[in-house]
Amino acid sequence: MSDQDDRLQALFQDAAGTPPESGFSYGDVTRASQRITRRRRVALAGAAAVVVALGGTGVVVAAMRDQGTSTSAASAPAAAPENNSPLMGRSDAAGAASAPLGPSNAECVVKHDPQLRTLVEQVLPEIIGATDAAITLECEPGGGRQVNVEVADAGVSGLLNVTYEPQGRPPRSVAGAISAPTASGGTVTVSSEAVGPGAAPFAAKLPAVLAYLAPRL
């Protein structure tokens, strides 16, 4: 590389300078990624549903064509595959039989766990887009998961914490927190703390959050 190239490199490096504070965080990136993935899945499921519906209609039409214009009970078996479509069976089963999330494989407890956050957002959509709360950076082993977010409810700001501890790990002890055993044998703990005067944000909804999370963790 020539001297001229070296000088240009130095100039460009200097021009870029030290960046100002970033406008986005790791949590912003993972949440945006998961939103896109969810939207794609919904779109794919919708497309699959259309295909299945069209296929079912085709079966019905074909059956009617084979049997003339009669709409007697004989057409019912032809329509049966539509009602038993794999898509519908899968969606019915998804809520009841999906495997619990369970422990994390990460070396340290993930304190802004995107998968746990997705579950919390499903039951408490008010936190969608909420800022990740400040956390300590020490490595806590054990396969736990956490969500720590800054929240606001009825004009009161606060911090919401959801902690999952795997089987054999002591549940997190926080004043005012509520806990429940999870489907994977661990413990989920939910707490909310107001920053300043006022009731803790979403305090009335925490039991519902806990009830939703326990069978999914």
Binding site: G17, V29, S33, I36, V110
Partner: protein
């Protein structure tokens, strides 16, 4: 994405975020848009993470995604940039004598370089890529990179006048 991959991505994000932001800034000349482009590129990388195993390939993938996004955006009518052969403002030229102002002079000058030529200059002189690496990042031939470098530097010199002595001489 499983937990191990998520942890790997988090580490990559922490290590590379500011580098990617700086590249985006020189590509578009505005920190807010730079953050938008950098975030969108990281989101895309997160979605493709499990398919890009090699660490070197991840950097190349990010460069390609980022530069294409900025160049594509500059082609949209509502974002189309104004190209000018006029030297930048006299007061800015005078300020170039001050070290602190140098970065603003260069960034302003870069904004008047056509986007694709600007991308070549940023990849070569900020990221330090050679001609082959720049060609791979932009998906073009090495000959194109050489000619774009030459044209880009000429455009930059024209925009800056004699504001920056380092650019006064021609560069092969």
């Amino acid at each position: 994405m499983d937990d191990v991959s998520e942890q790997e991505f988090a580490e990559y994000f922490r290590a590379r975020r500011d580098t990617v932001r700086r590249t985006a800034y020189l590509l578009c000349g505005d920190w807010h848009r730079a953050d938008d482009h950098a975030q969108a590129s990281f989101v895309a990388l997160h979605r493709h993470w499990s398919r890009i195993r090699e660490p070197g390939a991840r950097d190349a993938w990010m460069r390609r995604t980022l530069t294409r996004a900025v160049v594509d955006e500059s082609r949209r009518p509502w974002r189309r940039e104004r190209f000018t052969a006029d030297p930048i403002r006299d007061e800015c030229v005078a300020a170039a004598a001050e070290g602190v102002a140098t970065r603003h002079v260069l960034v302003d000058g870069l904004r008047s370089v056509p986007p694709r030529q600007r991308a070549v200059l940023v990849l070569r002189y900020l990221e330090g890529l050679d001609i082959a690496g720049t060609a791979a990042a932009l998906g073009c031939s090495e000959g194109t990179v050489k000619s774009q470098t030459s044209h880009g530097l000429a455009a930059l010199r024209l925009a800056l006048g004699d504001a920056l002595d380092d650019l006064a001489e021609g560069v092969a």
